[in-house]
């Protein structure tokens, strides 16, 4: 089976915002189950809830610019049997309403799915530390669609992190997706590269460059950052004995942090973490910013070569 988009390494690879896949998945989830409801905090179009709102107006709830209310109303609706999806920009939700998520969703064990869009380079990993919270970071719009449908059918709280920008499409409609499973997208014996979100593309391109130099990297798409798929990751790193991670968010506490914890306890190995290094984002063209923060394939390949020296 072809896990990867045949045009992946080509210049004209298809690109689509990851959040668009969330929008399609939400409509599909709404058709699958009439208990699915969607709540938004005045960002319906840009978080791609508008198609759901058009098709199911009675199940779409506009909350206004009130992110604390967004998640607490959703918690209440889940207690009455609904399956609420809430969306806003990640800086506001879960950025602003973290305590409400902790108390009324996580401790309360409410079945609420939180979509944080426009997560970008600015918003750090605040959700991984919450018990009862799963963290999903899809690598492209196709995976986001599958993840959204899967989350609707899976009882319990979850956070799905979505990028704003057009992102190269890495997977195909046939690529399997399972919540909680990391997926080896490219096999190799010299180095394990683990990524989530838009950085999966950058790592695959970096692996292609490294291959030209005779370095064969294994690339793992770790779309479920929590709970972490220990078995898949440990099997790979025990083979390669060298590990890199990449994410577009803060490396501290995010995927990089999670892998560092896993390795520290089970398989201490040299590790290089690509991601935001204790900086905030800033204005600029997204590609310019990725370059500035060293989040592109050439930088990743250079880090890999350094790690393997």
């Amino acid at each position: 089976m072809n896990l990867l988009n045949p045009k992946l390494y080509k210049k004209d690879v298809e690109q689509e915002p990851i959040r668009a896949g969330f929008g399609r998945g939400l409509v599909a989830a709404g058709r699958n189950n009439n208990q699915v409801v969607a709540l938004c905090a005045d960002l319906t179009e840009s978080t791609h809830m508008e198609d759901f709102a058009k098709e199911f107006p009675e199940r779409f709830i506009e909350i206004g610019v009130a992110e604390q209310n967004l998640v607490t109303v959703a918690a209440g609706m889940s207690l009455a049997g609904k399956i609420p999806f809430v969306s806003s920009y990640a800086a506001f939700s879960p950025g602003r309403n973290w305590e409400q998520i902790r108390t009324t969703i996580c401790i309360n064990e409410a079945n609420v799915k939180i979509a944080g869009s426009h997560a970008g380079v600015s918003v750090g990993p605040v959700m991984r530390v919450l018990p009862n919270m799963r963290v999903i970071v899809p690598c492209d719009s196709i995976e986001a669609e599958k993840a959204t449908v899967a989350l609707a059918a899976s009882e319990g709280a979850a956070y799905i992190r979505l990028a704003r920008e057009k992102t190269p499409v890495v997977t195909t409609s046939d690529t399997p997706f399972t919540l909680g499973k990391a997926q080896v997208l490219r096999e190799g014996a010299d180095l394990t590269m683990i990524a989530c979100g838009p950085m999966v593309y950058q790592m695959l391109v970096a692996a292609e460059k490294l291959s030209a130099d005779g370095i064969e990297a294994e690339v793992i798409n770790c779309a479920t950052v929590k709970p972490l798929d220990h078995a898949t990751i440990l099997a790979s790193v025990r083979k390669t004995r060298a590990v890199m991670t990449a994410e577009e968010a803060q490396a501290a506490g995010g995927l990089g942090g999670a892998i560092a914890e896993l390795l520290g306890e089970h398989e201490p190995l040299a590790l290089a973490r690509v991601g935001m290094q204790d900086h905030f984002g800033e204005s600029g063209d997204p590609n310019e910013l990725l370059e500035h923060f060293k989040l592109t394939a050439p930088h990743i390949a250079a880090r890999a070569r350094k790690l393997l020296k």
């Binding site: 009130a66 918690a75 209440g76 401790i107 309360n108």
Partner: protein, 281 residues
């Protein structure tokens, strides 16, 4: 239950609260004592519920937003038959279902987890909204909130939401006892004109004496007749009600009585209990 029986039950619940707090050695005194009459009216008259079947889907929901007054809820639930009265003495102890702040999944009948202030009304409104979508009209959501927690912006986000969606199946009750941890509410962060605030937010407001059973029950019944608006009942209460040295004193917001103080409090409450019959004759 007659008003006299309700008053006696509330007096028993107040004694339970004192015994629980002194046994636990920590917890809040003023709020639970002040809300004993409202809780008694809710569990023994107003609510449609079944203590032997706490998950009965058709029950009314009682959401407690200010979770720190939960000892009064525990005591009232025990007296209503949800669990044995002896279990009240496990409050705040390791392994107890009676957590210091309520946790939904620990004890059937709690409805939500709360403690951090300001998010109960939103959850109540979420339940009310879900029932509105499903066309469910034979149940009501009640939400008890404190006055101090109305400092929280989340409360007013919920107020706007409930008015926008015309959640007439939602009745909130404010425990207007005028104190919070740091002092009188009007000094810490003035709330008045509280009635005008809720009316301006699109709610129907009823003000009552929160220690008058007839007024509590009438207000809840009247709330059922209001169409297209949520209802806020502002219940004026006395913090520490029933224990002379605790009444009106904000220092009793967040501490329990010591054994000596508890003895005195129980003596006072028993005396008051003895007077209830004569007051109702």
């Amino acid at each position: 239950m007659t008003t006299e029986e309700l008053a006696k039950m509330a007096n028993t619940i107040r004694q339970d609260i004192i015994k629980m707090l002194v046994e636990a050695g920590s917890g809040h005194s003023a709020g639970p004592l002040g809300m004993a009459d409202v809780f008694t009216a809710m569990y023994f008259v107003v609510l449609k519920h079944d203590p032997k079947n706490p998950d009965w889907p058709e029950r009314d929901r009682l959401i407690l937003s200010n979770g720190h007054i939960v000892p009064v809820r525990y005591a009232t639930m025990a007296r209503a038959g949800y669990f044995p009265v002896q279990e009240l003495m496990t409050l705040r102890k390791f392994g107890s279902r009676l957590q210091g702040h309520p946790e939904r999944l620990r004890l059937p009948g709690l409805e939500t987890t709360s403690g951090p202030l300001g998010s109960g009304l939103s959850q109540a409104a979420g339940i009310a909204k879900a029932w509105q979508i499903d066309g469910i009209k034979n149940r009501r959501v009640y939400c008890l909130i404190s006055d101090g927690e109305q400092d929280e912006g989340n409360t007013w986000e919920a107020a706007m939401f409930a008015a926008k969606y015309k959640l007439a199946n939602l009745t909130a009750i404010t425990d207007r006892n005028n104190i919070q941890i740091d002092g009188p509410t009007e000094q810490v962060m003035p709330l008045e004109d509280l009635r005008a605030k809720w009316e301006a937010f699109g709610w129907h407001v009823i003000e009552i004496d929160g220690h008058n059973f007839t007024q509590i029950i009438d207000a809840c019944n009247f709330a059922r007749t209001i169409e297209n608006k949520p209802v806020m009942i502002i219940a004026h209460t006395i913090p520490g009600k029933g224990v002379d040295f605790m009444e009106y004193d904000f220092h009793w917001h967040g501490k329990p009585p010591n054994p000596e103080q508890a003895k005195e409090a129980l003596r006072e409450l028993r005396t008051l209990g003895g007077r209830i019959r004569s007051e109702h004759q």
